[in-house]
Amino acid sequence: MKQGLALQLGKDSPEYTDEVSMVEMNKENMEQMGLQDGGQVQLRTEHGEVTVRCRSSTALPQGVLFMPYGPPANTLIGPDTGSTGMPDSKGIEVELVSRTKSQ
């Protein structure tokens, strides 16, 4: 919802940039890694890497991350579509490294 609202303000608006530069993580996973809300994490796949803020979530099981669709998420997604036109955009393996403990 926040992404949809921010979209109307423009993709160069701080609201949009803020919303898509975020990853949600399981709360216990964050505690195990010593991360707090707003902490910076680096996400890496074979296609690229990006540093974003993390936000705790009780909606996600352990080991699963959620990112809103946008330029940071698309840095991690590869262009291979397996002859379908659709790249693997969800359910992809991501390596996560903590950049700061908290803010």
Binding site: T58, L60, N74, T81, T84, G85, M86, S89, G91
Partner: protein, 424 residues
Amino acid sequence: MRIENVVCAFCGSLCDDIEVTVEDGQIVKLAKACAIARSLFMNYRKNLAKPMVGGREVSLEVCIEETVSILAQARYPLIYGLSSTTCEAQRKAIELAELVGGSIDSTSSVCHGPTTLALQVVGEVTCTLGEIKNRADLVVFWGCNPADSHSAHMARYSVSARGYFTPNGRRDRTIVVVDVRHTPTARAADIFLQVKPNQDYECLSALRTILKGEKLDADEVGGLPIGALVELAERMKKCRFGILFFGMGLTMTKGKYLNTSAALSLVRDLNRFTKFTAMPMRGHFNVAGSDATLTWQTGYPYAVNFSRGYPQYNPGEFSAVDILARREADAALILASDPMASLPYHASHYLEEIPTIVIDPKRSMTTKVAKVVIPTAMAGISAEGTAYRMDNIPIRLRKVVDSPYPSDKEVLDKIIEGVKQCSG
């Protein structure tokens, strides 16, 4: 002046009961609008694009001349986008693609393209949103989250709407959500089943197996206990009118069209027991219209190529991500879309290396890298036209305020005229 029954051109629900108050040529007040519609209408003047060539502001005529020159010289142009404009503009974009012998693809290929592939194989038992409002007593949302993405959908059609055979609204319906995460839609559900990532196909196949009366030799499938799957299968068989809404949770994960094939097959199988229907949750307001218009004009729904002078269809070959990732196109015309924000980096950034033209009312990540930017009147606010709702019902978009710029269709008309003159 208060204008009633205005259509919101944001998502595939195409709500057509918005009330807009216009004073001195500007929208000043809205009623019956969801939060996103409110933001769309009230911010329509923000972030507007200007006519630009090579980063310099020029007249609209210069933009069109430059576009004609780029397209007339290109050997393999790509036309991409289409889903956030009218069917009339889509039709013109297809005419232009044929004229220049290029490829044309809509955002459908990175949205419900895998659903289209599945329904070409399986078929689709479907209905209208009106039938769901009036009849559905079991609503399953699988891999979609309308509470965030289609915020009026649940109140107007699928969850709390009161209909002819559902006079008590929410109390007359059972809501089931199957998803990887406990979404805001899941919070409104009676039953939430948390599937493991990339295991939707297994769960859908397990449900089909149970429906056939077979026993599964497992305790769980895809993170769901067999008991929960048996209970869901029974609930589906016994409902009066069921609907399975599904979204990117099926199309964007591993399996893609195999996931959606399994979903459509499950719904087909359920019709041995009761009336059950399926519907993809279409995102952009006229993405269903882009499938319809392309099919009407070329015989194919997306990923269409005209390089041989007649339409060829091949997702994976003529789809935008593949063409850009393989660096095949030598020019691109982007219509009402923002691929720099929405396609994978290694595909979209090729647009920076070729002459890219963007036709869009608003600035975007793609207008920043485009050689030519052509601003247009915003469909549904400053331009009228036809759009198809997610259930393939065509609805007429209204114009409520003027724009200094022509519509997408009018701009494409001028480009087509210019290209025809160039080619003699």
